[in-house]
Amino acid sequence: MRFSALALARSALSFHDNWPQLWRSPEPKRRYDVLVIGGGGHGLATAYYLAKEHGIGNVAVIEKGWLGGGNTGRNTTVVRSNYFYPESARLYELSLRLYEELSGELGFNIMLSQRGILTLAHSSHQLEMLARWLNAMQLNGIDGELLDPPAVRRWLPLLNDSAAARYPLKGAVLQRRGGVARHDAVAWGYARAADGLGVDIVQNCEVVGFLRAGDRIVGVDTTRGRILGDKVALAVAGHSSVLCAKAGFRLPVTSYALQAFVTEPVKPVLACVAVSMATGTYVSQSDKGELVVGGGLDLYPSYAQRGNLPTLQEVVAGLLELFPAFGRLRMLRQWAGVVDVVHDSSPIIDHAPVQGMYLNCGWGTGGFKAIPAGGLVFAHLIATDRPHPAAEAFTLRRFATGALIDEGAAAGISH
């Protein structure tokens, strides 16, 4: 089913009661070439690129809950590629470039809005760190520019930059190509496109164990029965440790709750995404007019998708120091996603230590912006058993060799 003016007109004749499902809900087959576990953005994109780039259409995406109902539906929809190290810049720039073409590629409007992302410095030290970060970005071929306070004021007229401000304004780095995209549309667009290429999307199907033949994983036990798969690919973010424990190994992953909140909708007041290096708070305004606010992780590991009050208070306090006018707004909703944090804030896209199994995890707080590239490089690894050139550094063995990619820019704030 493709959307078009004609389809809209035709459906209007029957009062929009006959729109078809965007993807099938098939009973799982007995066997697939590839089982992708996790029906979030990364899992769906992986299935799509397996079918499209590698001609592997006998693929199932197995999702415990509903499609895009985990972190894909729980993020703050920011896309950017302003990373420090060349390995990260290459991967996230690939992702941003794929995002720029994605609406056309999928025939589904993902509402990409490259409105610019501003990272604010509030001390001369932060400004020096920002300049260093920007130099690295430019060496990596990523667009970015340093703004002085008058230029920042033109972007953020509501910013409190008075002499008495708790966080005085010293400057900012701008990535104009950064912005936001519609998170649900990314999941739905990939799901429809993958379904159209023959991928089975199986929802409400939880993996409870793995099937083995000798040392090799050959399928999964699920709440809807056994499903065989020549290759089993994990894209389950915060639940990576739980599934890998069932397969008999550990990961360098700790799961935390990452919260976000939205205010009631208002007229346009904020034209870009703004991030503060001092508070870690970031904010943008959605197309509906709500301010979408996020900040740092909760302070201890959690699998609860709700978050805790002290972190919420700290993030809101940081927001109100920067934008006192927002203190008049009421919060509408608050939620949390369970994110898979590793020590160097960089992903793991690699073979698992058991045969027949593949890992895509460790994106931590930044998985949404990486969905297209994550799917593309993971599909390449699964199909060819060789790492994609853009993902060679993101191995599991880097934790033993010491070749970590310690990407403080992953969180967008200084640590």
């Binding site: 639940h239 440790s241 739980v242 424990a245 550990r250 990961l251 360098p252 992953v253 700790t254 799961s255 302070l299 201890y300 590991p301 959690s302 699998y303 609860a304 805790n308 009050l309 002290p310 590793v342 020590h343 934790f399 033993a400 060799t401 010491g402």
Partner: protein, 93 residues
């Protein structure tokens, strides 16, 4: 907001404490005999369980003592705390 029963100070609010990692994580040795994979296990690999976990906390804004907490990572319920140096409490069923 957690209320964490410090073994010395009694129940206090979460912002007074800092989380310090799951236990036990035992340092391998002697260092010259430890391979890179074993160091990686010690430094980075974690159980990260969904459910009950034993972990170390410090009462940073109180008595500044470290202690062990048995906590549920889904419900955030705290079942027991114990001072360091005593045998690790069992998680139980």
């Amino acid at each position: 907001m957690l209320r964490i029963p410090c073994p010395w100070c009694g129940p206090r609010d979460e912002p007074e404490f800092r989380w310090g990692g799951e236990v036990p994580v035992l340092r391998p040795g002697p260092p010259e005999a430890v391979c890179a994979a074993a160091w990686a296990e010690y430094l980075f690999m974690r159980e990260n369980p969904k459910g009950w976990v034993r972990e170390r906390w410090v009462h940073a804004c109180g008595c500044r003592q470290w202690f062990v907490v048995i906590r549920n990572t889904v419900t955030h319920e705290i079942r027991a705390t114990a001072p360091l140096g005593e045998p690790l409490p069992e998680i139980g069923p």
